[in-house]
């Protein structure tokens, strides 16, 4: 496709100086591209904290008994690790960074529907992060409930829960507003000729995700408010002594938190659906099937939340129902995996860093997904619930799934975002080291779980020692890989080779503008011809 911008004198969005200068020009910017980067930097900061907490946990688990921390500290560590990773990293995840940056570009728009609301979303993210951190640093002790804040411990615990639940509430509000913004943007701001059936798959996944963000988040919002009210007033809604049912808390919590995992994975799948066609230089196999499976995952994913509660005391009917639906929701994901692989078949493969990440994504996602079926099956879950098997499952599918896709996306869109190429050799080395570390860290956990090692304990039986040593070593290798990857990206952002508009020869609209784009993305509103398409290779 022809580059649409010809004004070589116009400043790109990184250099543009508007009403505010310097730092203010960034933190008060309503430019979706700058907001995407603001999210990237704040998320990277919180991710570092989360990783350090994870490494601390792994260090504690290097040997049985107390190694560097006692039980209470360990409980606090895994709580904050979870709260950060879930609410500040993988839920905002790809939508906050890549959705913000790319959505308007991909649909031929100048910005999102409500740019000021978009900035507010980021400010709410920052406020939420500060609130959670304040729970750690001040008050009666870091929350020790796990990121799930289960009743009754969450309202009885003497630790400083109010700022933490309030922070999670504020983070949820940020997520809701982003979802709202993206929905209106996709409905109302597509350029001429950009019909729904011509949208890139990443946009479709943002659409499905936005609905989940919009509808599911308020439910965890009200649930967190109820925990706060329980702590302040002792209302009794989840207190068995006053007639409340703690299992009802779990229902409400998971009614959000299960769809939340689809918030995490759908845009990740969308990014993979962009990367594979580009690096196979081939039309995605089954474009409509991928759209259908995206919507099916979003919808059916709403109906399965009870599979987190098989041992909580639900009725048998509910248990059977949730297990059945959990198996059904696996089907559309399998459709996607099939379509990705089929796209590669007879494609002209260009082996680059994003492709390494995408291919390894398919592997870890498969393992994570299949292990999900093991815990989704009622009989086996009774044995595996709250063991390390579950920890392995969700790290494979979330860190493996969303995480690998995030790294794939940052390398894929790096030239567009920063106008420079990353160093491919170091990027590939980083990928390899990270991947080896990842496998070493999480694979033993499947075995440990099956052998009966429980999660969220700072101590374990001697028979689990070997697996834990391997996992901790894996965590160090993984961390090394992370350092290589991030250092390379930082360096390349400043000193990398200047990038052209479309270094990967992709067909989606963001590649038709300069790298990096100008403030308003397009000189003139693009027009999508009837014969154009996002994958017309």
């Amino acid at each position: 496709m022809q580059p649409t911008n010809t004004n070589a004198n116009e400043a790109n969005y990184l250099e543009y100086q508007g009403k505010y200068k310097g730092l203010l020009g960034w933190i008060l910017s309503t430019d979706h591209k700058r907001i995407g980067l603001l999210y990237l930097y704040s998320m990277m900061t919180m991710f570092t904290v989360g990783v350090l907490l994870g490494l601390a946990m792994r260090f504690e688990l290097l040997a049985p008994g107390k190694t560097i921390m006692d039980a209470q500290t360990y409980n606090a560590t895994f709580t904050v690790h979870g709260v950060i990773m879930i609410f500040m990293i993988v839920v905002p995840g790809l939508p906050a960074v890549f959705g913000n940056f790319l959505l308007p570009l991909m649909i031929g728009a100048k910005d999102v529907a409500f740019p000021k609301l978009n900035l507010l979303s980021w400010w709410l993210y920052v406020a939420g992060a500060f609130l959670v951190l304040s729970a750690v640093l001040f008050g009666s002790g870091t929350p020790d409930t796990g990121w799930t804040f289960y009743a009754p411990h969450s309202f009885k615990s003497g630790t400083n829960l109010l700022p933490a639940v309030f922070g999670a509430f504020v983070l949820g509000f940020s997520s809701i507003l982003t979802g709202l913004n993206f929905l209106v943007t996709i409905h109302r701001m597509r350029c001429k000729g950009m019909k729904w059936i011509k949208l890139p798959l990443f946009v479709w996944t943002l659409y499905g995700t936005a609905w989940i963000q919009l509808l599911a988040t308020p439910i965890v919002g009200i649930t967190l408010v109820l925990i706060a009210l329980e702590r302040i007033f002792g209302v009794g809604i989840f207190d068995p002594a006053l007639g409340g049912d703690p299992v009802l808390y779990q229902h409400l919590f998971w009614i959000y938190s299960h769809p939340a995992v689809y918030i995490m994975i759908l845009p990740a799948m969308g990014a993979i659906s962009e990367i594979i066609p580009t690096f196979a230089q081939k039309h995605i196999f089954g474009y409509k099937a991928v759209i259908a499976s995206t919507m099916a995952i979003a919808f059916v994913g709403w109906l399965v939340w009870g599979h987190h509660m098989f041992t909580a005391g639900m009725s048998g009917t509910a248990q059977y129902y949730f297990s059945l639906l959990t198996f059904i929701v696996a089907l559309p994901s399998a459709v996607k995996v099939f379509n990705w692989v089929a796209t590669m078949y007879k494609g002209s493969i260009n082996i680059q860093t994003p492709f390494y990440w995408a291919a390894s994504f398919i592997f870890v996602f498969l393992v994570g997904g299949l292990s999900g079926l093991v815990v989704g099956s009622l009989a086996t879950d009774v044995y595996l619930h709250d063991t390390y098997f579950v920890v392995a499952h969700f790290h494979y599918i979330v860190f493996g799934g969303t995480g690998f896709a995030f790294f794939a996306a940052i390398h894929y869109w790096f030239p567009k975002i920063f106008g420079r190429m990353y160093d491919a050799s170091w990027a590939n080395i980083g990928w390899l080291v990270f991947f080896i570390g990842f496998l070493a860290l999480y694979s033993p956990m499947f075995y440990l779980g099956m052998m009966g090692m429980p999660r969220r304990y700072y101590d374990y039986l001697e028979e689990f020692h070997g697996g834990n040593i391997l996992a901790t070593l894996g965590s160090w290798i993984l961390a090394t890989g992370l350092v290589i990857i991030v250092a390379n990206l930082f360096r390349s952002a400043r000193h990398g080779k200047k990038a052209e508009a479309n270094p990967w020869h992709s067909k989606t609209l963001e590649w038709s503008v300069p790298s990096p784009p100008t403030l308003e993305n397009f000189d003139n509103e693009p027009v999508v011809d009837e014969n154009d398409g996002p994958y017309n290779y």
Binding site: L303, S315, A318
Partner: protein, 96 residues
């Protein structure tokens, strides 16, 4: 995107007055019906009136009658999601 033109239709004041009349009538009826002992159908009866009232508010006061189809579909969809959620939750409590 073509600008929406459903706003060219101005709803007469009378329509809103009639809808209010209907709403008040339904309110009074719902109070009356709950005086009658219907056992477990009392709640259902009261809720049914609430649903009809909500339909009137959505359709006329909130202008859905005159809006584009996709907005109506969204509203139906969201209510459906909520109902499905309650039903599934009851699968637990009904059969314990």
């Amino acid at each position: 995107m073509p600008e929406n033109n459903d706003k060219h239709h101005i709803v007469p004041y009378k329509v809103y007055l009639y809808v209010l009349g209907g709403l008040i009538a339904l309110t009074l009826l719902s109070i009356a019906i709950t005086q009658i002992e219907l056992g477990k159908f009392t709640v259902a009866g009261a809720l049914l009136f609430a649903v009809v009232k909500t339909y009137l508010v959505l359709t006329y006061f909130m202008h859905l009658k005159y809006d584009k189809l996709y907005i109506k579909l969204m509203v139906v969809f969201v209510f459906a999601v909520f109902i499905v959620t309650i039903i599934i939750t009851f699968l637990d409590y009904l059969y314990r």
